[in-house]
Every structure is written in C-alpha cells, then in structure tokens.
Symmetry: C2
Subunit: 281 residues, 2 copies
C-alpha cells in the first residue's frame, strides 16, 4: 500500500513497488552551531539554502527541524515550514518533539505533510495523533517507548503494533503511519544492523506498513561513515525499507539509492539509473 504525501505542487508516494523515497535530513541545527545561532536570531536564510540544495539533489521530501537552544519552536517552526514551502514544491516532513510547535506548523504547511514523529509512549500518542487526524496528514511512528529502544526486533514490532492500534483508534488510515524500526550504532552493538533488518522485515510482513529510518545512525562513532551507510542501505532496502532520512548531498549515497532502485526492480529498463549516470549525478 502506498503512503501519499503532498507538497505545495508535488505528490510523493512511499510504497513497496515504488522507487525509494529520500527524505532530506539537512535542515536540523543539532551539531551545527552557525545554523543554530542564525535560527535563534530568527534568520531563515541558511534554511532556505539547504531546502533548495536538497531538492536540487534529488530529495523527495524535506525534513524541517529547528530545535536548538534559544529557539522558540512554536514561533520559529511554522515560519521555517512556510519559508521552505515557498521555495520547494515537494512535501515537507515536520520534525519536532514539541506538540505546540507541531500544531502551529501544521496550520501553515501546504499539502499533506509527514509528521516526524510519534513514539509508542502513551503521552506521545495522545498528544500527536489527534493533530495528525485533524490535519489528515501522515506520521512517522518510532518503535520505541519510555523504556527506550529495545535490541529485540520482536519488541520493536510490538511497539509498532501499539502505534498502529492507537492510530486506528484515532481513525488515522493505516497507510498514513510510516514506521521507523530505528537503527542503533553498529559500533556499540554488533547486532544493530541485523536487528534493524529483522525489525523491518517483521513490520513489512506482519503489518504491511511503509518504513523509514534515520539510516546514518548505524555508523555513529565510526570512521568512514558514508561507506558504512552506503553498505547498510542496500541491506535495509532488500529487507523492505521504503524510505529513509539521509543527506541527499552525499553523492555516493544518491548513487547507491539509484543502484538499489534498479536492483530492487523499481527502475524498469534502468531508465532512471542511465539518466542519472549520463547526467553525472
């Protein structure tokens, strides 16, 4: 089943028979001092540059996160979402843990955005799902709860099921919930990648849901992160992953996604691969 997202002028479909959907992760002040301080001054110009660069690099959706020290999220997030939606026509992923900021951003966001995110915690479900239902948009469900992230794929499936049940209770269509099985750092747990693949497979097979992943978490703390990420993504895609939050300016990653779409049988006659290859990516 496809998850339909809409931007101001473009529609994006996330689905098992579709090319992989790339959610651009770069509008996020965490770890970016200059970006964080410009946001706290109310300056949205860097954010606009990142939105345009990512859209031009092939992002299908733009994640917008403005959470940083000194940033008044309920004020800044809607302004940021508006600024991005004026520059790009693709869907926006509203990324916040602040319900008030989410409500304000949803009011000004065009189309049918993706909300990032709700967790399996009751408090999160009760705060976020009514907003998702009211706006008729889609939401990312993180497979974690108050006890944190479980190493067990079965436990992550249980939380995914809980999120789906809660969404159903709020009359949110099941295809509007995109589940994030969560990838831990392979440097801390040698079973992190196998566990994430198993969780993806369980969610896809048992729930028939679309999935997304902050795929670069897998390489946290290690050198050659792009290499590790580029090796992990094909594994996750083969397990059934249908979208990921990553950096579309990483040309190696873009090339890997194009090759994987071809390998998964989602690029008949290699049309898109050959076009990108000729165009120099």
């Amino acid at each position: 089943v496809d998850t339909i997202l809409e931007g101001s002028e473009e529609q994006v479909l996330i689905g098992p028979q579709r090319p992989f959907v790339l959610i651009g992760e770069r509008i996020n002040p965490s770890g970016k001092q200059r970006f964080a301080s410009s946001l706290s001054r109310g300056d949205l110009s860097l954010l606009g540059d990142e939105a345009l660069a990512q859209a031009e690099s092939g992002a299908h959706v733009i994640d917008v996160n403005v959470a940083a020290e000194g940033v008044d999220e309920p004020v800044v997030l809607p302004l940021a979402v508006q600024a991005v939606s004026k520059l790009v026509t693709i869907p926006i992923c509203i990324d916040t843990a602040n319900a008030e900021a989410l409500a304000a951003a949803l009011k000004v966001c065009p189309g049918k955005p993706l909300v990032n995110s709700v967790t399996g915690e009751d408090a999160s479900l009760e705060k976020v799902l009514p907003l998702v239902r009211e706006r008729g948009c889609a939401v990312i469900g993180l497979c974690m709860d108050s006890t944190g992230i479980s190493a067990s794929a079965d436990r992550r499936l249980e939380i995914a099921e809980k999120i789906m049940r809660a969404a159903e209770k709020h009359r949110i269509p099941s295809e509007d919930v995109v589940l994030d099985p969560l990838a831990m750092a392979i440097g801390a747990d040698s079973g992190a990648a196998v566990g994430a693949m198993e969780a993806i497979r369980l969610i896809v097979c048992q729930l028939g849901a679309n999935t997304t992943l902050g795929a670069s978490n897998i390489s946290f703390g290690l050198p050659e992160r792009s290499l590790i990420n580029r090796s992990f993504l094909p594994m996750a895609m083969a397990a059934g992953l249908t979208s990921a939050i990553l950096d579309p300016l990483d040309v190696g990653m873009r090339k890997t996604v194009a090759a994987c779409d071809l390998l998964m049988g989602h690029d008949e006659y290699a049309t898109s691969f050959l076009q990108h290859s000729r165009g120099g990516w």
Copy 2:
C-alpha cells in the same frame, strides 16, 4: 556449517558466522587478449603477478582459469596451479569445464582446493564429482542444468537439491558443496537481483549450505558496474551469501565487503574494519 579450504600453508573457512570469503577472479583470460596469448605461448608470468596482487589485496582464495583459444588446458592448467601455489599460501579455486584438465590440476594442487564447478547436468555431475570425492576437496555447484538458468528461485533450489543428492551419493560431505545460485544481468531482467536473493535465502534456509556468486554478472552491459556490484553485494550478504568471486583489486568493493562484515556482526568491536581503515585499505 563451515566449508574448510586449504592452501599450501593457510586454511580458509566459509561459513554463516565467518567473515565473508573473497575469491579473486582475475586469473581468467576471457576478454583479456594479452593474457590469453601469453598463456597460449606457455608464459605464466602475468598469471603470477595477478596471483600476488590479489593475495596482497586481501583475496582469501585465488581462482585459476586458463581457458582460451589456443591453450591446451590439460597441460597448462596444472602448470598454472603449480605456479600460483608456489607464490601464494592461500587456497586455490580450480576453474575449468575440462574434466581432464581438472584431474591433472587436482594432482598437483596443494591443500584442499575448491573446484569451480559442477552443474546440475547428469554428465557434469558424473564427470566432476568422482574427482572431487577422490581428492577430498570442495566443489562449487552451479544452480543450472541443460535447460540453462531458470528465472525461478524455486527451480534453482531444485537444481541445488539435485546437486546435493548427487554429492551425497558420491559420499562427498555436504559442507564440501558450495552452491552458486547464479546472478543474471539486471539490465536484461529487472527481477535478477531479487531472484538471486530469493535463491540464496532458499538455499541457506532449506539446505543449510554455503553459497558463492560471480557477483559482477549482475551489472553486465550497464555503465558504472562497480557501483551496481557494490550495491548488490550487501543485499546478497544480508540474504545469506557467504562468499563471492570478484575482483579484490577493486578497492571500493573491498571496502564494501569490510563494511558488510561489520554490519553482519562478523567483525566484533569493528577490529578488522578499523585496522583496514587506518591502513588506507
């Protein structure tokens, strides 16, 4: 279960809990005019260079194939195997469709080599398996027969089962048969990669056998072959592939294999990955 191979001084284990085994493909005159003509003159110097270069680049096993127009295989193959075995200490993979050449090469090859290959055809099984049994070595079983290579993963499993039954009849231990599910070109069949993964999974789950693959076939006829190969290998490894025949001089491929070993949980504490990363691959 592990498949044990032996060179003149080194042992290599192929197994689901082991680091991936890389079989160096470069000693093969097909498509290499200069190499083919030097072999037909009885000149083995290029072959020695390729053996050393591959061993230094991290190949665990060296494939030796001398089949070319004008080459008398039953004479040249044993000479080539001897030459390689004097230069490298790792196991050799004797690659020929000529039973007489195979018998002669097996006589002079040290340790416990891998024979490449037997197919599911009765004539091939009856010619090759007695030699494998007599020498006590291991053999690659190609999942194809006189009707060619089937697009169906189930059909490839059937041929794998036939090869395993025939090996058992010849009292060859099951762990000494390494099955090659065969990868077709993705440019000719958009289901080639998904089909190969499915065949690997079936062979691993139903037969518990080790597997190998001429992984670069997948990109035949397309541009950016290394990119496609590097994207396919993680998918195949996640499906259970335990070895592959490929070019160890492709540094991108070596890096991908190291990252995949880490991701599959076969490189605890990232010891090998970090060592290679510091060493500049």
